[in-house]
Amino acid sequence: MTDTSLIVASSEGRTRRSWAFTAGAVIVGLHLIIGLLTLVWTPYDPAAMSGGRLETPSFAHWAGTDRLGRDLFTLIMIGSRIALVVGTGAVIIGAAIGITIGLIAAFASKTLDDVLAAGLDILIAFPTLLLAMLIVASSDGASLWTAIVAIGIANSAIVARLTRILAKRVLRMDYITASRISGTSWLGVVAIHILPNIWPTLLVNLALQFGLAVIAEASLSYLGLGAPPPNASWGRLLQEAQGTVYTAPFGAIAPGIALVLLVIGINLLADGLRDIADPTRRRRR
């Protein structure tokens, strides 16, 4: 009896999770398609004043126009592309730095490990956004790439701390000792055992970092520290719409919806990713 109910419960759990994964994949996929589409086609020229100022949504302008008369839907589409580029770039940079430092700390002598761990804790104590602002402010000037690098570095501390803890846990396992005894080098141990074993958890975290990076970029742009004007980042659209939010609220609502949708989609995707990456949670064939 208990067995059956357990099976039912877990299969329900799987259905729920796979539903989340599908929904996440659809939302993120939609953003991806739109982002790629803007490379070749947009409904209007993003810089052209294609309509009247602050128009409400209509058939010609799906999301209305901004205060310069530019088509908002076009700008939001381009914002999609920017958000995805920033998210991907920041996650790659964050993962490269974070995983490397985390692994070094996990293998290091106690003193070096303590120093690295304390350093990471200090970095994590700073809010990601504040850290990214400091990095942007200390660089030559705001650009898309500075924003990506800044967010990537700011996020890398969290990745590093997670990698360190996960790797340390795996390192204590008997199969590592067994592998070492049978003559595997440390690098071999990392490639064969550690990375595959920490990957499922790390992947979920990286997906969440992607969402955080998208939000961080919007915040930086909102503060004028992100991509400079011709780039229609969602944060910039929000900031530009701020002055007219009472007269034309849709200018702020539309990019807001796009941003929230992408972040929710990424979070749903992250939820489902773990089941795919971890065979012990995979459905039995």
Binding site: S109, K110, M173, D174, Y175, T177, A178, S179, R180, I181, S182, G183, T184, S185, W186, I192, H193, P196, N197, P200, D278, P279, T280, R284
Partner: protein
Amino acid sequence: MSSLLSIEGLSIEAGGQTLVSDVSFSVASGERLGLIGESGSGKSLTALAAIGLLPEGLRAGGSVLLGGRQVVGARDRDLVPLRGTTVATVFQEPLTALDPLMKIGRQVAEAVRRRTRRDGQPSDERTVTRAVLDLLDQVALPQPERIAKSWPHEISGGQRQRAAIAMALACRPELLIADEPTTALDVTTQAEILDLLGRLVRERNMALLFISHDLPVVANAVDRVVVLRHGRIVEQGPVGTVFQQPSHDYTQSLVAAARSFDNALEIAP
């Protein structure tokens, strides 16, 4: 016969505390030696020190000669070729002894490939696969093809331990260290694994260093025993002598405890 493993005056310290002191014994090739004592007596530490894999923060002193090479104070890089060729290990907990994210077949194949590379033999996919299935068959795993395609969580504890033994054998070691290999298993499976280990050690003329706190288990598995207590050797000798006429108080109490437990089981309906 030359000694495969020869330990002289081994001591292990952690932060000023002595965990193991003045331990000396040797294992000749083909010999089966039991290392017994209660939990915390330093059995497992001694075994780890023998292969130079003490956890960080522990320091070994004295001398450990493994296959004629000094392990104490040696650099890790110099020990890598020694491991696998000379020694392999089977652990207590079969759940953690296998990588949970790798199919059984691939885990054994990794060990097989390391050996073939070491011996300069061909390591193409087909040879390795055949060697893997052969090994799984030798440890008496049913349906080797199916087991090879299974994840560790899909097979039973006893089967996992057999798979772990297959991995250890894949290296073709001269000395097998078994660190309480049956403690985590139920009694029936224990007996099967012990039979298997005994048979494999005899067939391959491997030396065995068997670590356990379970006297009846040790009595059946080895020729000679070393009794450890609080990190010191209290007694060593042939298994029959030590268990029938224990000279040290501690060994006497161990044997008496095992006997009274046996008697209690017999009296019980």
